[in-house]
């Protein structure tokens, strides 16, 4: 078995034609970068399960699907966008992308404000290429990352936030990615967040999907956190069950920069959310939390890599998963400490609840440590609902199903508790309730 899966996607074959219609077409540097990235993708190809990082997530079904590039949406997508909003205020800036295209009509980029730019990538390439270009070029130079290369070759619209030094955004910037697929199509959103020294930014990212067809979402989000800046990043992945969602988030932190992420993954048939954070400066602080809920034949992969390159950095990760039906969860988390990253504090925890005997969790936490003055740890658990706890609730008059839900709810709640933003936490609670309400009765599931 080879380490690579060679796929023949129609949109890749039609590169020249497709690229002509993508944001920034005609910019020499970008045209060249897209072409180089296409070559890189063709050279590297999709990873097979022989590649260690992809041991538990198999892309062979994706590779067999004849994906083309997503078409412009026909009519209104079947979504109540107001229902998806984070924050509940409806007052903050909002960028909506439908099938990879910026939907100005549904978006609110807000009034111009000093030192702050919130705009679509297409617009940024026209008006702020000088700021955007170095970041896009730097990230695209990474070798061996097939999905990243593919995104660069076909990058579609996305959200760009550039905050000047000391700028604070009061309300989170909401980004919503809507996919309405009528035939097998792919979208490659590209987001960029640049937080200047001492600035404070929050953004939420929501991915939703509908439509009768399979589709493939391949978003890349680059986040640059300058000295003493703070970025809060929250994401809800609620793609359609027919979707492949393969997301890459790349974060770099300068000295004393902080990055807080929360990821909730409930949708898609196959999803993989990769978060790669490098703490370059001294005293940087990174926190990644999240929850994943899966059932039926869903496959949910969360892969994190936290690299401590600067000294005195600290990282915390806590993920919780609930798996039912024939679903499979994958959690891979690596904490690396480079030789000079002394006084590093790095901790990680992954807990999984298995509700069915056909569900599977594959966990691979990893510590890679080349400095001695460190405190690093990881923990992982997997198990079923506690029989005694169930009995306790039953003996107090709760029905079997209700008792079960209370316990599942409590299990996931521990991950959600770390979210400080009340309105967003309410949204997460709603997602969990929604997931639980669709749960089949315990008896039917147990087959007893």
């Amino acid at each position: 078995m080879s380490r690579r899966i060679v796929a023949e996607f129609p949109f890749v074959e039609r590169f020249d034609e497709v690229a002509a219609g993508l944001p920034g077409a005609g910019l020499d540097w970008l045209d060249a970068l897209r072409r180089d990235s296409l070559d890189a993708f063709n050279r590297v190809a999709l990873p097979s399960t022989r590649v260690e990082a992809w041991k538990y997530t198999n892309l062979k079904d994706l590779a067999k699907t004849p994906f083309d590039i997503a078409a412009s949406p026909e009519g209104d997508p079947p979504f109540d966008l107001d229902g998806i909003h984070a924050g509940g205020s409806g007052a903050g800036r909002r960028l909506v992308f439908v099938n990879g295209r910026f939907d100005a009509g549904r978006s609110r980029t807000g009034p111009p404000s000093e030192g702050l730019a919130v705009l679509s990538l297409g617009e940024a390439l026209r008006s702020r290429a000088r700021i955007v270009r170095p970041h896009i070029e730097r990230l695209s130079s990474l070798e061996d990352e097939a999905l990243l290369a593919l995104n660069t070759a076909f990058m579609m619209d996305g959200c760009v936030i550039v905050a000047g030094d000391g700028v604070t955004i009061d309300l989170p910037v909401e980004t919503v990615f809507v996919n309405d697929a009528r035939s097998p199509t792919s979208v490659h959103p590209r987001n960029l967040v640049v937080a200047g020294a001492g600035s404070r930014i929050a953004l939420t990212e929501t991915h939703v999907g509908a439509g009768p067809s399979e589709y493939w979402s391949n978003p890349v989000t680059e986040i640059v956190v300058a000295a003493s800046a703070s970025v809060v990043h929250r994401k809800i992945q609620r793609e359609s069950r027919r979707a492949y969602h393969l997301a890459n988030t790349r974060v770099t932190l300068a000295e004393r920069g902080t990055y807080r992420a929360f990821l909730m993954s409930v949708g898609a048939g196959l999803s993989r959310c990769e978060i790669d954070a490098t703490l370059e400066g001294e005293g940087a602080d990174c926190r990644l939390d999240g929850a994943y809920l899966a059932r039926d034949r869903q496959h949910t992969d969360i892969t994190t890599r936290v690299t401590h390159a600067g000294s005195g950095g600290s990282s915390r990760q806590a993920f919780r998963g609930v798996l039912d039906g024939r679903s499979r969860g994958v959690f891979q988390g690596r904490v690396s400490v480079r030789p000079d990253a002394q006084r590093t504090d790095g901790h990680q925890l992954n807990k999984t609840l298995l509700l069915s005997n056909d569900a599977e969790i594959d966990t691979k936490p990893e510590l890679e440590i080349y400095a001695d003055d460190v405190k690093c740890s990881h923990g992982a658990t997997a198990g079923h609902l506690d029989e005694l706890e169930l009995l306790y609730l039953r003996s107090r008059g709760l029905g079997a199903e209700e008792a079960r839900r209370v316990l599942i709810r409590a299990f996931v709640a521990e991950a959600v508790e770390s979210v400080e933003d009340g309105p967003f936490r309410d949204r997460l609670d709603a997602e969990i309730d929604d997931w639980l309400s669709r749960e089949p009765p315990a008896d039917a599931e147990a087959g007893a």
Partner: protein
């Protein structure tokens, strides 16, 4: 002096102290020509007087290995120049091919070698409890306490002797836990293995003494391909000790052993290893490559296999003693200390495969890295679909001494049964200045303090060792890091 400085000095001192067991005994070897091909496999087989089924098995393994030339494992976190498998000898036996019947018949030079190693056989015959099947290069040359074992019905001999005397038993179990196609090194071993130990404990017998083999590698450029097979029949118990030292030499030596354990209903096997092969000089030149496949099958209900290892030697260690927990209510245990210093590299851990219901496993791993060494814990815990109510607990701790070394933890946890419960914890830290200061204030030297702290760090594993080994292992832990300072 800070903890780091003290520890660094200690580590330096060890380098200067050199390797206590470095010497070469000059005994004329009966050696096969260099390289490996089908003829060499036939030569080895003929030398060992194999029956035909065994020759066939070796040839099947060799042919597979030949096809797998590009599949030498590369996933471990170790690096070394490519091994030229054709530039090594695959057979060397002490000159006296006829098996000695008593110690008097043993080559006096061999006996002198054991004296230097601190294993005086004469004394050991008198010491209670330990029977020694001493392996010098590839052929067993002395076995003691046979009489007493025979009385209990325990079969303990070299694997070649077992092939000759108990062919049915060997044929039934050889390769049943580690098939010849298992992995690159196990395949190589299956083709060219020369010797090793065989133990069979009959139903209901508690082996009256701890069984022990001391390995020695001798004869320049000879890889060692030991094959050990231990079968514990229903309700029996055996404790097996394996300990090794090796003489100093310039060229790397490959050691690819295979150990297979089989525990039937209610049987228990305790396998303890102290590995102190030559680790190479300060730059890592000349050390042993230790690429070993060790696996136990808990075939019977309520059976139990326990691996305990203290790994301080070798330039490179690639070793994952594992348990296949097939029998319901069976138990697997892995207790490990891996100490790496200078340029040593160790990628070691275990696999616990839970197949049967109510199976339990415990993993306790302590890794200590010093100098420029790289130490990796790599382990797999898999709960299969039918492993109802299975349990695992894993604790992996790493200790770093000095800022040029690395410590890595790569656990794989795969759970396919909801009633299974898995808990994994791993930590990495250094010796804190507080701990050092506390010890120093009470009049200890820096070296004593490091030894005390490291021994404390390893305590949970050391206490799993049988008495005979515990003392030696504690000294070794000290020696590996302390040297002869002051």
């Amino acid at each position: 002096m800070s903890a780091v400085d003290a520890a660094a000095e200690t580590v330096e001192a060890l380098g200067e102290s050199g390797y206590k067991y470095g010497f070469v005994t000059d005994i004329e070897s009966d050696t096969a020509p260099k390289g490996l091909d089908e003829e060499i496999v036939r030569f080895i087989s003929a030398k060992k007087g194999d029956p035909e089924w065994l020759l066939d098995w070796r040839l099947k393994a060799y042919r597979l290995w030949e096809r797998q030339q590009d599949e030498e494992p590369r996933w471990a976190k170790v690096s070394y120049p490519p091994i030229d498998y054709q530039d090594a000898y695959y057979y060397s036996a002490p000159k006296s091919v006829d098996r000695p019947k008593s110690l008097e018949e043993v080559d006096p030079e061999l006996l002198a070698t054991y004296e230097k190693l601190g294993i005086p056989l004469h004394e050991q015959e008198m010491l209670a409890g330990v029977a020694v099947d001493a392996v010098f290069d590839s052929v067993s040359v002395a076995t003691t306490f046979k009489g007493e074992l025979e009385k209990a019905g325990v079969l303990f001999c070299s694997i070649s002797e077992a092939v000759e005397k108990y062919p049915e038993l060997v044929r039934r179990y050889l390769g049943s836990v580690v098939p010849y196609s298992d992995n690159f090194y196990a395949t190589l071993n299956s083709a060219v293995f020369t010797d090793g130990s065989f133990v069979y404990v009959p139903e209901g017998v508690r082996c009256p003494m701890e069984l022990s083999t001391y390995f020695r590698i001798n004869a320049a450029n000879t890889g060692q391909f030991e094959r050990t097979l231990i079968v514990a029949d229903k309700g029996s118990y055996v404790s097996y000790l394996e300990g090794c030292t090796a003489p100093m030499r310039d060229e790397h030596q490959l050691h690819a052993a295979v150990v297979e354990l089989v525990a039937l209903d209610d049987a228990e096997i305790k396998y303890s290893t102290v590995q102190n092969w030559y680790p190479g000089d300060e730059e890592g030149r000349g050390g042993i490559y230790n690429f070993v496949t060790k696996r136990g099958a808990c075939r019977g209900s309520r059976s139990r296999i326990s691996w305990t290892q203290v790994e301080t030697g070798s330039a490179i260690t690639w070793k994952y003693p594992s348990c296949i927990l097939q029998g319901d209510h069976s138990v697997g245990e892995f207790y490990s200390i891996a100490i790496t210093n200078n340029r040593q590299q160790a990628d070691t851990g275990t696999k616990m495969l839970h197949v049967g219901r109510d199976t339990r496993s415990t993993i306790v791993s302590k890794g200590i890295s010093a100098g420029r060494a790289q130490s990796t814990y790599r382990g797999l815990v898999r709960m299969q679909g039918k492993a109802e109510s299975a349990r695992n607990f894993t604790q992996c701790d790493s200790l770093l001494i000095g800022d040029k070394c690395g410590a890595h933890t790569v656990p794989y946890i795969e759970v396919r049964n909801r009633s299974a419960k898995v808990e994994h914890e791993a930590t990495t830290s250094k010796i804190s200045d507080d701990q050092m200061d506390y010890c120093r204030q009470r009049g200890m030297s820096a070296e004593e303090a490091v030894a005390l702290i490291v021994n404390g760090f390893c305590k949970e594993v050391l206490q799993e060792l049988p008495m005979e080994f515990a003392v030696e292992a504690q000294k070794l832990v000290g020696l590996s890091l302390e040297g002869s300072v002051g």
